[in-house]
């Protein structure tokens, strides 16, 4: 570890003490922030697990309905319907802040539509097609919610990573260096004091001899 270049003066000692205090304070607070981020992160993670299970389950229900549709309506006809249907679904996305970190906030309006709104040609109307559409709409709604949570988790994780790096830099680099420098100055000052003291003693002895 490279030593800090410092001159051994009382002034420098005072300044260094202040710097150690600041670095220590920064370290302690960032560590608290890290702990808080961890709490937030794990709460999001818990909700992700729930949401993921629900969404994936619904997605497999949707795929089963689609297979049924392929079998009964026909693969080509189903694909055709998927091209003709209205595909203008919108999600409202804004940002929310958790401890100053921007995370996505998604508003899901009603995703489920009725057959008329879906808009595929009426000649195609079929209850299995409707059912496949409805199940995918439901899956989509759940996936949108999941996407918000995962987006939040990634944003929190990135901040966590950043904070951890800062804490480490303080803990393993800056603070030890400052303390090293502090020790060096105190030693030098002590030494200088001792030298001073013995010089004074010598002078005193010399004066006494003459006297």
């Amino acid at each position: 570890m490279a030593a800090l270049a410092v001159s051994p003066t009382r002034m420098e000692l005072l300044k260094l003490r202040q710097r150690v205090g600041l670095a220590q304070r920064g370290h302690d607070l960032l560590k608290e922030k890290m702990d808080a981020l961890v709490i937030e992160f794990f709460e999001v993670l818990r909700r992700i697990q729930e949401a993921r299970m629900k969404a994936l389950e619904q997605l497999s229900v949707a795929h089963r309905a689609l297979s049924m549709c392929f079998a009964i309506v026909g693969t080509l006809e189903t694909k055709q319907a998927s091209k003709e249907t209205r595909r203008e679904l919108q999600v409202e996305i804004s940002t929310r802040h958790i401890m100053g970190i921007a995370v996505p906030a998604v508003e899901v309006r009603e995703v489920e539509r009725n057959a008329l709104v879906r808009g595929y040609g009426l000649h195609m109307t079929s209850s299995v097609l409707d059912e496949a559409s409805r199940e995918f709409e439901r899956a989509l709604k759940l996936l949108i919610e999941l996407a918000e949570l995962e987006g939040s988790a990634f944003a929190l994780a990135r901040e966590l990573e950043k904070t951890k790096r800062r804490v480490n830099a303080l803990e393993y680099i800056l603070i030890p260096r400052l303390k090293e420098a502090l020790k060096f100055i105190m030693m030098r000052l002590d030494e200088m004091e001792r030298e001073n003291f013995s010089r004074l003693k010598r002078i005193k002895a010399m004066l006494e001899e003459r006297g």
Partner: protein
């Protein structure tokens, strides 16, 4: 050395997510869109169901006293992971949510309790970093 400036910058950023002014529970309840503006300019919205949950925990008269968001003050000198809740009404609701013995005007809570509090009141509580 710029390391010091960097630390000061980090410290100055710790609380920018907090609002300049904290409205009372009564104000929040009567607002069509209950929210606050943080010092960094972002808005923070309160969920109505949370506001109503809080109202249910407090006698009518205390609705003017409870200020939102409730601050979870993290203070290294209390020991790592220890947080302080201040204010009479704030202490009243938090101690009920956590099923803790209420003390007068101040309550110390610990990391697992902070987690529970954040889970039950995600929009009406926020962290405050103190030193």
């Amino acid at each position: 050395m710029s390391a010091d400036r960097l630390i000061k910058l980090e410290l100055s950023k710790l609380n920018v997510h907090l609002p300049e002014r904290r409205p009372s529970l009564r104000e929040a309840l009567s607002s069509a869109r209950p929210q606050v503006v943080a010092r960094d300019g972002s808005t923070h919205a309160f969920k109505r169901e949370e506001l109503e949950f809080l109202a249910g925990l407090l006698p009518e008269a205390d609705r003017d006293k409870l200020q939102l968001p409730i601050l979870i003050a993290l203070e290294p000198k209390l020991g790592r992971g220890t947080a302080r809740i201040s204010g009479e009404a704030e202490v009243k609701v938090v101690s009920q949510v956590l099923e803790k013995e209420a003390s007068a005007g101040e309550l110390l809570i610990y990391r697992p309790e902070v987690a529970i509090l954040r889970k039950k009141l995600p929009t009406t509580t926020q962290y405050l970093f103190l030193w």
